[in-house]
Symmetry: C2
Subunit: 252 residues, 2 copies
DNA sequence: CCAGAACTGAACCACCCGGTTCAATTCAGT
DNA sequence: ACTGAATTGAACCGGGTGGTTCAGTTCTGG
């Protein structure tokens, strides 16, 4: 009868669902009957479902994951899942988009820090330290378990869900690299960097960070130590600054 | 009754299967009844099955792919598939390993070219051109459709098949980067490069190549033009040489 | 306090998949 | 030409899946 779900039937107050469920989706409950028999509220079932869906999809893959398990993980009956999101495909899409948005905001926050810190220090050593710190925190974001799971699922199902490439991945990396390129451009104008093409520099900075990490963390299946992450960030920044740091202005 | 397949029952001459089926697995046939009614021979059914399995797995993912389709794609009856490889999991494993071996040999051949060409030219421009060419060809390998499919499947099923990480991916990238590091070490000894840590330099060289390509080719779903691949290789080599090329020997 | 919406649990359905069995057929080695 | 192995097609089985239905319960808004 009804074809378009997502907020067509309007099961709960789901139209205002722009509020990203921040950390864990299983404990925030409407401030009534708090701590009583019912462990969770009524209005955030949707968040619980999306979170559980991502967890299960990440653990078992889209094809192998079954909705019953997702419902169980969310502490919810199976019809409730279908009532909220109507379809396994839609469920997957929304779970991925939510996870992507969360990962994006984390990375953007790190790059935003570069704006703040980068303005304070002035000498070359300070710039190097700042870049290293930003790189390290960017690596922490990128090496988060949920982040790896997101990338794996994206890789896996890009054939069946091509639109997720844009809505989850493309926009994200583009915006992060754009913000990075903005900072590099300003640093170049200030004479502290020599990036003829800031966008390309940002692209390569990102590659120098995440590329080595992919191998070292075994595609995200092995937790990477803080020391190793810092070492990768240090190496990346060293190479980056040798190539783009202050020096001969041979802007090709 | 029987638990260990693969060459336990010995259906055909499969023990000698170390010969990698080179290009396409669907046309080589024993030199008899060539071109007649039966389109393929009898002895290379296994290759056909493995090739078809990889094709179907790449197209639909491990979970969604069903053996019937694989058998159809291979032009073979379903029991034949089970007779040869016994299990969907084993089928997947072997298809992945075969594809991984093929991709590895291609990349290794490219790096081997660096050994030959790198010895001839002497000036800096020639080194740059050689590195660009090697990078470009490495990118071509890495951007091959089957290569992307292999990486996607690896990413996707690394949770269910952790051993594939080593047998398909780890060994491959390690060997390529090792070969690259060897070349860099020799070039450093010859005074034409300054790589304090050749392994790390190779790691970053690889990252500068493949990282930007990941975004530009949309995770391998969009064919990348030769011009763009060449541009990425050029940019990577330029950055790499600025960082590690002849200049101040500030080996940290 | 009550009407109505959301939620639950369980059963149910049709479908498809992995894997097996089997008789009939085709091929390879000699 | 003949024997035995490989292959085929088709049917079959058990089980799990996506998705629905429904009666009954729990909560929410007013």
């Amino acid at each position: 009868m009804h074809n378009d779900y997502d907020h067509a039937i309007g099961p709960i107050g789901s139209e205002c669902c722009d509020s990203r469920y921040d950390a864990q989706v299983s404990e925030v409950s409407s401030p009534q009957t708090a701590g009583a028999g019912a462990p969770r509220g009524r209005i955030d079932k949707r968040h619980a479902i999306l979170g559980a869906a991502f967890t299960v999809f990440a653990r078992e893959g889209y094809g192998q994951a079954c909705v019953r398990v997702i419902a169980a993980e969310a502490g919810v009956a199976k019809p409730t899942v279908y009532n909220h999101l109507g379809d396994k495909e839609n469920l997957f899409r929304h779970a991925m988009e939510a996870a992507g948005a969360r990962a994006l905001t984390a990375s953007l926050a790190v790059v935003a820090e570069l704006r703040a810190e980068g303005a304070t220090a002035d000498d070359a050593a300070a710039l190097s330290a700042t870049l290293e710190d930003v790189g390290y925190r960017l690596l922490l974001c990128s090496c988060d378990e949920r982040s790896w799971a997101l990338r794996r699922l994206l890789y896996a199902e890009v054939g069946k869900f091509p639109e997720l490439l844009d809505s989850v991945w493309g926009h994200g990396t583009h915006r992060v690299q754009e913000a990075l390129a903005d900072r590099f451009a300003r640093l170049t104008l200030a004479g502290r960097l020599h990036t003829a093409d800031p966008a390309q520099a940002a692209e390569q900075f990102f590659a120098l960070l995440t590329g080595p990490m992919e191998a070292r963390s075994r595609l995200g299946t092995r937790p990477v130590s803080d020391a190793e992450a810092r070492e990768v960030a240090r190496a990346a920044v060293r190479t980056f600054l040798r190539a783009f740091g202050p020096g001969p202005d041979e802007t090709a």
